[in-house]
């Protein structure tokens, strides 16, 4: 590593440690930011010599990254940005902190994928899904798919592991030389009614889809989910027992197994390691407090709210919504989510934008009670399970109440 990069790495680690010590977060952004100031090529230098997998998409990338890192652990030490700091500063910080490792698995914000591919020369890129997120800021879904497509065209050696169920992902990846398709299901269809290639309507039936105006259609998936297991490309079914709830996490596990297989890890070796993942940066964490078993579910956008309702037990449920910078300021997306699955449950609402939620729940005929603090929510619920579903900063607020549970 060049001297400049060595200095930058060292300063980056120190800054991250200082930030943590000062209680200003986990330091995963500031360290990388300073390091990149000293050496703009630091990420490239830190990535050199490692076999790297990148994981990108609107939803599931933090969990899939965690699963993939666990699976690759079979082969040796793995560097990873496990705090969800998924921009180049976070990648830089994660690699600097990990020291020399033969492998790295990095979660990448979908907007930055092209740049991070350029800088890290990954062996594998996993593309999970694309859907609407942060209405006031994010690029439209079709434009994002185009960016991915262009990025992959510039790197023909990269192996792509991509979701056959999402037309936007398929269109982005379909021309690449090395692609493995997985099927993890797609609950959210509202951003892919229209073909990204030709603009014609997309027809769906029984999990299959095809464009009505051009040859784009669902490719045959080599990795699929069946019952509580995953079928590999040879047709072998593997029971996958996870601590993380929901069908969506089984899909994330299948994706991780497909990525790990590109590195030569067999499912039979990787599966037991997936079972060891209990929570991901507080997500799915269970905390006991005052006789309540509180479980934290993060839901950042319409597609992930649908998944959260699928995972949540029929139990008292606290919903918390903020609209701060990382969340996006426009709360209109609340109307893209059908809250009727919550009817009949005890529902509590809180957060900066609880009133938006109140009006939304009325429209769905979901009865609710507004609480002002997390403690009030805990007191208002009976002993037993309390499901907490919150968007990004609201989730972090509640996590802080629970001593930054991981």
């Amino acid at each position: 590593m060049p001297l400049r990069a060595k200095v930058a790495t060292s300063v980056s680690r120190t800054a991250a440690a200082l930030s943590r010590a000062a209680g200003r977060g986990d330091g995963s952004v500031i360290g990388g930011w300073i390091g990149l100031k000293i050496d703009p090529d630091l990420l490239k230098n830190l990535a050199a010599g490692r076999a790297i997998a990148l994981v990108s998409g609107t939803n599931g990338k933090t969990t899939t990254t965690r699963f993939t890192a666990a699976a690759l652990g079979v082969l040796g030490p793995v560097a990873t940005n496990s705090f969800g700091a998924n921009m180049p500063t976070g990648h830089t910080s994660a690699l600097a902190k990990a020291g020399a490792t033969p492998f790295a698995v990095l979660e990448v914000d979908e907007h930055y994928l092209a740049r991070v591919i350029d800088e890290t020369t990954p062996r594998v890129v996993a593309l999970l899904n694309l859907s609407r997120d942060q209405l006031d800021r994010a690029k439209e879904v079709a434009m994002m798919a185009q960016m991915w497509r262009t990025a992959l065209a510039a790197h023909p050696d990269v192996h792509v592991v991509a979701n056959a169920d999402d037309p936007m992902v398929v269109w982005a990846a379909v021309n690449t030389a090395h692609v493995v398709w997985f099927s993890a299901g797609q609950r959210w269809h509202d951003d892919s009614f229209v073909c990204p290639e030709c603009g014609s309507p997309i027809e769906r039936a029984d999990g299959d889809w095809r464009c009505t105006g051009c040859p784009l259609r669902r490719p045959q998936a080599q990795w699929t989910v069946e019952d509580d297991g995953v079928i590999d490309p040879r047709g072998d079914w593997h029971l996958v027992k996870l601590q993380l709830p929901g069908h969506v996490n089984l899909g994330n596990a299948a994706t991780a197994l497909a990525v790990a297989a590109e590195f030569g890890v067999r499912p039979i070796e990787a599966v037991p390691r997936l079972a060891g993942v209990a929570s991901v940066a507080g997500r799915y964490a269970q905390v006991e407090r005052d006789g309540r078993n509180i479980r934290l579910l993060l839901a950042k956008n319409p597609a992930s709210w649908l998944e959260a309702f699928d995972m949540a037990e029929v139990a008292p449920t606290l919903l918390s919504i903020n609209a701060r910078d990382p969340d996006g300021f426009d709360t209109s997306w609340l109307y893209d989510v059908d809250f009727s699955p919550l009817r009949g449950r005890q529902v509590l609402i809180t957060g900066d934008r609880a009133y938006d939620l109140a009006v939304r729940l009325e429209v769905n005929d979901v009865a609710f009670r507004h609480v002002h603090t997390f403690d009030e929510a805990v007191r208002a619920s009976p002993p037993g399970r309390l499901e907490v579903i919150a968007n990004y900063t609201a989730f972090q607020d509640i996590r802080a109440e629970l001593d930054r549970v991981n």
Partner: protein, 237 residues
């Protein structure tokens, strides 16, 4: 479908539904139903013929490509024009609002609009993103408008329309006025969605559609709290 049933059409949700636009349909339907007015709602996709005899038409926001496509299909279909000329009420939001005018810009090109409102839209120098607030035309007798705007366009009103509101925070059409009003057509840049944040506008559309001077009041405790919070936030921003 009986003659007394209120028919509401949501225009092209496959193309124009980027900003929770379904909410306007849900809120209208709910506020009618709570008054005992039978309602039928129709989501008309862009590959379907536009019904001409519904009472209220809703059209929402979207990106440039779908906006241009929606305008082309609505012009070719002609059904929406017939409905408007027969006196249907309309709420058009954001991209849907722009395409009700004579022209708008999408992907750098000038596109023909439906020409159902005397206005045209072009590109502003900056994108208007944030809370928007305005005092609604006093002839409509409504409380202030609140919404969230996110658009790159600027809209210029002709003499054939009145501004829906005078802007007190945010940008709207041009920093001075927001939205447009003519006959039973309302256009606005406000998401929120608009009718969740402005139930009085929902009731105005219902009154126009059924020809009533007033409607039974509803319990709007939560909507009023939301309005109070957002009107104050727009002032502070």
């Amino acid at each position: 479908m009986s003659e007394s049933t209120l028919r509401i059409v949501w225009i092209y949700p496959d193309l124009l539904s980027t900003y929770g636009d379904r909410g306007n349909l849900l809120i209208l339907g709910r506020r009618a139903a709570l008054r005992g007015i039978p309602v039928e709602t129709y989501e008309v996709r862009s590959d379907q013929a536009m019904p001409t005899t519904a009472d209220i038409y809703l059209i929402g926001g979207g990106e440039d490509g779908p906006q241009a496509l929606a305008a082309q299909r609505l012009i070719a279909d002609g059904g929406l024009h017939r409905a408007v000329h027969q006196g249907a009420a309309v709420l058009a939001v954001c991209a849907g609002y722009q395409l009700f005018g004579s022209s708008f810009f999408a992907k750098g090109a000038k596109c023909a609009g439906l020409d159902l409102l005397d206005l045209s839209s072009d590109r502003g120098e900056t994108r208007a993103v944030g809370e928007v607030r305005g005092d609604i035309d006093p002839r409509l007798g409504l409380p202030p408008l609140t919404g969230f705007e996110n658009h790159g366009g600027r809209t210029h009103l002709g003499p054939g329309v009145a501004p829906l509101a005078r802007v007190t925070a945010g940008i709207g059409n041009d920093g001075q006025t927001e939205g447009a009003w003519h006959g039973k057509i309302l256009g606005t840049y406000a998401h929120g969605p608009a009718l969740a944040r402005n139930p009085a506008i929902a009731d105005l559309l219902l009154r126009w559609a059924i020809g009533a001077d007033s409607l039974t009041p509803l319990d709007d405790t939560w909507a009023d709290r939301l309005r109070g919070e957002r009107l104050a936030a727009a002032g502070a921003a």
